[in-house]
Amino acid sequence: MLQIKPIISTLRHNKSGPLLLLLQIILSVAIVANASFIINERVQLMSRESGLVEDEVFDFTVYNFEEGVDYTAQNSRDMDIIRGLAGVKASTTSSMTPLSGGGWSSTFTYGQSEETAKDAPQAAIYYGDEQMVETLGVEMIAGRNFYQSEIESGHPNTANLAIVSQAFATVTWGDEPAVGQTIYAGGYGEQALKVIGVVKTLQGAWVNSSHLDNAIILNVELGLTSFNRFLVRAEPGLMTELKPQIIAALHKENKNRVIDGFTMITEHRKRVYRDHELMATVLSMMVILLLLITSLGLAGMVMFNIERRTKQIGTRRALGAKKRDIVSFFLVENYIICLTGGVIGALVAVQLGRQLMSVYSLPQLELIYPIATVVGLVVLTTVAVILPARKAAKISPAIATRSV
């Protein structure tokens, strides 16, 4: 038996309580819908594949401060030493570390002639040798890797071969096969780079960039400055063991350098996504607490109403209302408030989402979020109401006959 009419008249007589509950629900829906939307967006960002075997790869840097060192020759010697260590599966010098937040990137040009040349999108540039693909653990899906004999040493402008990520190939050439194409570093015709291979996924260093999936590996073992970076692949957990070995071996070769910065890619990932994870965590905290507070408020309100209406409930029971009717009275009353608040709240949520989108660089709120929130709210209302209302149903009809 749904007794909507008397319920509405009850609500109209005691405006302030229900009105406050309504306001609370409106705000909760608006906040929860937007917060969970942002949380989901961040979780999706964080779950993107980097293409790497992240738990096997780490990087470190070598700073040669001795004057008169031939950096190119020094790097080659260091490379051999590192590769000779037991436990090292593969290793390469690298201009940058994936997901580290810092590195090299550039735009390239491509096309059939100078007149029809186009700019390829921004891409991260990994300068490294024939072990780069194996070190990162990226999957070759077309063409081939560099041969050892093809690796140049020293300056970046000696590069002439490229392995590109699938994402970069698709944006640049569409359905055409990438292998065999030529891109130019700089203007058309300057420093031709021949594409010889495509890897399935390889991300750059900047996770907030829209070009994250565009990456290019070029065939140069860098050796230009005193500062050099190595990537090493080893079994998970082996970094702690290898670190002192690497430092000792390289210091044995030449004492005048600082060897530092050993970091797993998993750590880089954690750091580079930190702000997103932080945002998602704080917002999740907020959503949970908000739901808690709203349901406690709801339950508190129902308890208060029961206390106030004890006599009324007793009278109803005396007049033949079943326990079920009492519970459903409270349920329907709160469903009315909750649904009204939910609908208005959803509208406010959409509006708030629009504001956030226009003021900040947040994407547009998807409608499913306010809808899901309202559905969740109905479930929450049911639980928060049924528990105290069942207590109310136990009120004895005899209460009605007592005067105090």
């Binding site: 302030s16 309580g17 406050l20 509950l21 306001l23 609370q24 705000l27 909760s28 608006a30 906040i31 937007n34 917060a35 942002i38 700073y63 401060f65 001795e66 004057e67 300056h155 402008n157 570093a185 700089g186 203007g187 300057e190 400055t225 005193s226 500062f227 005048n256 350098r257 600082v258 530092d260 750091r271 930190r274 702000d275 994870e277 932080l278 945002m279 965590t281 704080v282 917002l283 905290m285 907020m286 607490l289 908000l290 507070i293 709203t294 406690l296 408020g297 508190g300 309100m301 208060f304 206390e307 106030r308 956030l356 900040y360 660089s361 947040l362 105090v404």
Partner: protein, 433 residues
């Protein structure tokens, strides 16, 4: 009377412990969330230059060519740095960039450390009001005639020399001997406003070397190098002559006239550079931003922070509405007692005051517990996310702000219930219940 109300409030809170707990919980969670996000926001939003903020200006120059960058870049080229130093309008000025060097001492057992350093002119310390513990900056002459002199920070001095007055002693930077001329007190502005391009919340450098040494010692850039033009840069000289942006430039201008004069000088400079083929863009211009503007221009406060603060304020409002409902219920239940008090001679104002005190007490507890929440959540966040300490330290102002905001917002939430209870007609509740 206040203490009487306080006593009554305490009795009332004790009488309905569950309801009181619910209210305190609601407001404390609201305050906890708000203070957490506000703290992160405020710490990121601090203007570390203080009162100097409006006298220090970062110089930017639109030196890029046609069809390259659309906007004015936060850094400038070395050649522009070199030329700007020739102006004598500013009270103080310094070009700068970040580098790093291996540090060694005479002690053979000292394991070399790699240490970030700032390359700047002698004015740097005066510009940013850096205080010296021992010695002083290198002389002005060194800015013109390079000398191997260095200023180090207190804590580095402690690590290398055990904290004694090391002025006059020698350290080796990349194996070159440098004479220590000054030791500065601990100085680590957050955000690191003098160079926000390379991590606005990273630590400040602990070594400072003369800018004039750069061409000789070929200090590498440890910061962002931004190029709009493809240039073959092989040698250090190539880099110095290139169009790469990698220097920051700060000037101190104390009066509006000085600012005007300096702006004029800059636009003349741009005109002059146009004659030799640089500054190709027709709208090429110079820009001066004081510290506050500079932090804003560089979006030092992440947008996420602002969204969080906004949402947490809404959250607090929900908590208050929640509390308002509970208060209303609680107060109205007490109407008979209030009727007696009114009959006995309490005025409306006194009843109102009594209830506002009660709300204030609840707010105070909420604020204190909220502060604990905030402290806890900041500690957890900083431990879990390895946040910079600068961001998660509970700011001094928060210790006052949290209970303050809690009490104020509780009082606002209490206004309506207290008004309702004090304006009900007492006679209604006096007839035998």
């Amino acid at each position: 009377m206040f203490f009487y109300y306080l006593d009554l409030a305490w009795r009332s809170i004790k009488k309905t412990p569950l309801l009181s707990l619910l209210m305190v919980l609601a407001i404390s969670i609201g305050i906890g969330i708000t203070i957490t996000s506000l703290n992160i926001y405020q710490m990121a939003n601090i203007n570390p230059a203080g009162e100097r903020s409006s006298q220090l200006y970062e110089v930017r120059l639109m030196s890029q060519g046609l069809d390259s960058w659309d906007e004015i870049n936060p850094q400038i080229t070395y050649q522009d740095s070199f030329n700007l130093r020739k102006s004598s309008i500013a009270t103080r000025q310094s070009p700068m960039f970040r580098t790093g060097m291996a540090v060694q001492t005479d002690d053979d057992n000292f394991v070399p450390i790699l240490e970030g350093a700032r390359v700047a002119d002698s004015d740097f310390f005066g510009l940013f009001s850096v205080e010296f513990l021992y010695g002083n900056s290198w002389g002005k002459q060194v800015d013109i005639d390079p000398a191997y002199q260095v200023v180090i920070r207190e804590d580095l001095n402690k690590e290398v020399f055990g904290g004694e007055n090391s002025v006059g002693r020698t350290i080796y930077l990349n194996q070159k001997p440098y004479q220590i001329v000054g030791v500065i007190k601990y100085w680590n502005p957050s955000p690191k406003y003098y160079d926000v391009n390379n991590g606005a919340f990273n630590d400040a450098e602990r070594m400072f070397v003369p800018f004039s040494l750069a061409p000789i010692e070929e200090f590498e850039s440890w910061g962002n190098n931004q190029s709009w033009k493809r240039e073959d840069i092989v040698t250090y000289a190539d880099r110095l002559a290139s169009e790469t942006h990698w220097n920051q430039y700060w000037v101190e201008l104390n009066t509006p006239e000085q600012v005007k004069e300096y702006r004029l000088w800059l636009s003349n400079y741009i005109e002059q550079q146009k004659l030799i083929g640089r500054f190709e863009m027709p709208e090429a211009k110079a820009d001066l931003s004081d510290v506050a503007t500079w932090l804003k221009v560089n979006n030092v406060v992440p947008e996420d922070n602002k969204v969080l603060v906004g949402l947490s304020v809404l959250f607090l409002i929900v908590c208050l509405v929640n509390m308002l409902g509970l208060l209303l219920a609680k107060f109205l239940k007490r109407a008979p007692e209030v009727g007696v008090r009114r009959a006995i001679g309490a005025s409306r104002a006194q009843i109102f005051a009594q209830h506002m005190v009660e709300v204030g007490v609840i707010g105070f507890f909420g604020g204190v517990i909220g502060l604990l929440w905030a402290w806890g959540s900041l500690s957890i966040l900083s431990a879990h996310f390895k946040l910079e300490e600068a961001l998660t330290q509970l700011g001094m102002s928060m210790w006052v702000l949290a209970p303050g905001v809690a009490i104020a917002s509780a009082l606002i939430a209490g206004l309506y219930p207290a008004w309702r209870i004090c304006s009900t007609n007492p006679s209604v509740h006096l007839k035998s219940q």
